[in-house]
Amino acid sequence: MPQPLNYLKETASQTAGPYVHIGLIPAMAGFDIFEKNFSNVLVTPNTKGDRIVLEGKVLDGSGSPLRDVLLEIWQANAAGCYNHPADRSAGARDQDFRGWGRGGSDFESGLVTFETIKPGAIVDGAGRKCAPHVNVWIVARGINIGLNTRLYFSDEEAANTADPVLTLVEPPVRRKTLIATRSERAGKTVYSFTINLQGPDETVFFDV
C-alpha cells in the first residue's frame, strides 16, 4: 500500500431553500434583526468608477422567473483589481469598494438588481487580459449546488472577442448568454441580463 494522502473531503452542498432570505437578507424575509446588513448596493459615495445598475431575472425551464432566488456578485474595481490579497496585479485598490454584494429577487416580478460600478479589465494568472466581467453565484430552492456564471458587457465587444474564458464557450452561439445588454434609463446606465436555467438559450454555467 502506498502512503495515504489523507485529504479531507469537501462538505456536500445542500439547497439554500425557499427561506434563504432569513439568513442572508433578513429584511426581505420581513424582519429587522442585525445592526449591519449586507445588500445589493456595492457602492458608497466615495467609490471610484462609473455607476451602473445590473438588472435581470433567472428563468426556470418553463420560462417563469424564479421569485425566491438569491444572487451574489463578486467583481474587480474600476482599475481591474479585486479587493483581496491574492490579487497581485498593479491596479490600485479602492478602499471604498468591497466588490461583493447579494440581492434577492422581487417576490412578484423576480427582478434582481445591483447598484455597482463597471469593473475594469483584469489580468489573469497567465498574464492574459480578460474582458471586464462580474462573477455571479446563484442559489435557490431547487438548486442543489450553487451555480457559477459570469456577466460580460455588451459595449466591450473587442475585449469580449479576446476574452480567454468567453472564447472557450462552444458552440460560440452560447457566448451571448453571458453578455448583459447596455441601455440608458433616467440618467442611469443599466445592464440587463437573463439567466436561463434550461432551454435552447440555457446560460453557460461554470465548474470553477
Binding site: 473531503k9 432569513i22 439568513g23 483581496h84 494568472g125 480578460c130 435557490a140 442543489n144 465548474d207
Partner: protein, 260 residues
C-alpha cells in the same frame, strides 16, 4: 558551413521566479459527493437544473479571490440566536450550542471567514413572510445569526434546536431538523451553502433533499453528533459541526489574517 545550433534550453527556464507548485488555485471540486443538479426525488430541482455540461475553467484571479469580512461587519449579538431577537424573554426550545471548525481539504483551518446560519424555531416555523405552516412564530426568536471564524477556523453560536416541519414535495414529506449554513472561505470558488442535521433524527434517511446526495459518507458528514463535552451543565447541550471547503494550492498569505 557554420550553422548555429538551435537553442536547446527551454526559454521558460530563464524566468526569474523560482519554481513553485503552488499557484493559488483550488483543488478540483469532486462533484460525485455533491447532489446532482437534476434530482427528481426533490421535485423543485426538475425545472431549476441546468441540462448542459458545466464549462470547466482553470481558476483565475476571479475565482481565487473573494470578499473579505471583518468584525466591523457584525454586531455583538449576531452569534446568539437566543438573545439576538428576544423581546420579552428567551425563545422556546432546547437550548444548544453549535460549534466546530471551518477547514479546507488539506486540513488547515480557514481563519476569519464569514459563517452565516438560519433555521426554523422549535416548532418548525420560519420567521418568513412566505412560510405559512400552522406552528406558531416565536415572538422571541428570529432564527438567523452569523460569526467569523477565529485564526484557527473555529466558530460557535448559541440557539434553540429547530423543529422538523412538513413541506410540499410528496404529501407527507417532512424535513429533518436542520440548520442552514452559508460559508465563504478565502476565494469565491469556495462559496458553499449546506445544511446541518442532528444525530439520531429518524427523518434523515427518508428526506428527499438529503437523499439527493449520492455518497453515503458525504451525507453522514452533514450529521452533527451530540458533543456532551461541550455542553454547559444545567444550561445547554452542544453539537459539533465541522465544515470542509475546497483545498487551496497556496502559501501566499499564510502570515496574513485574511488569507487561506
Amino acid at each position: 558551413m557554420n550553422v548555429q545550433a538551435p537553442a536547446l534550453q527551454d526559454p521558460r527556464l530563464n524566468r526569474p521566479e523560482p519554481f513553485t507548485p503552488r499557484d493559488g488555485g483550488f483543488f478540483q471540486r469532486d462533484r460525485t459527493i455533491h447532489p446532482p443538479a437534476y434530482a427528481p426525488g426533490y421535485k423543485s430541482s426538475v425545472l431549476r437544473s441546468p441540462r448542459q455540461s458545466l464549462l470547466s475553467i482553470e481558476n483565475s484571479v476571479s475565482e481565487i479571490t473573494g470578499p473579505v469580512f471583518g468584525h466591523n461587519d457584525l454586531g455583538p449579538l449576531d452569534n446568539d440566536l437566543i438573545r439576538n431577537y428576544a423581546k420579552d424573554g428567551d425563545p422556546v426550545g432546547e437550548r444548544i450550542v453549535v460549534h466546530g471548525r471551518v477547514l479546507d481539504e488539506t486540513g488547515r483551518g480557514v481563519p476569519n471567514t464569514l459563517v452565516e446560519f438560519w433555521q426554523a424555531n422549535a416548532g418548525g416555523r420560519y420567521r418568513h413572510k412566505k412560510d405559512t405552516y400552522l406552528a406558531p412564530i416565536d415572538p422571541n426568536f428570529g432564527g438567523c445569526g452569523r460569526a467569523l471564524t477565529d485564526d484557527t477556523g473555529y466558530y460557535y453560536f448559541r440557539t434553540v434546536k429547530p423543529g422538523p416541519y412538513p413541506w410540499r414535495n410528496f404529501v407527507n414529506s417532512w424535513r429533518p431538523a436542520h440548520i442552514h449554513f452559508s460559508v465563504f472561505g478565502s476565494g469565491f470558488a469556495q462559496r458553499l451553502i449546506t445544511q446541518m442535521y442532528f444525530e439520531g433524527d429518524p427523518l434523515i434517511p427518508i428526506c428527499p433533499i438529503l437523499t439527493t446526495i449520492p455518497d453515503k459518507d458525504a451525507l453522514d458528514r452533514l450529521v452533527a453528533p451530540l458533543d456532551l463535552n461541550a455542553a454547559t451543565p444545567f444550561d445547554s447541550l452542544a453539537y459539533r459541526f465541522d465544515i470542509v471547503l475546497r483545498g487551496q494550492r497556496s502559501t501566499y498569505f499564510e502570515n496574513r489574517p485574511e488569507g487561506n
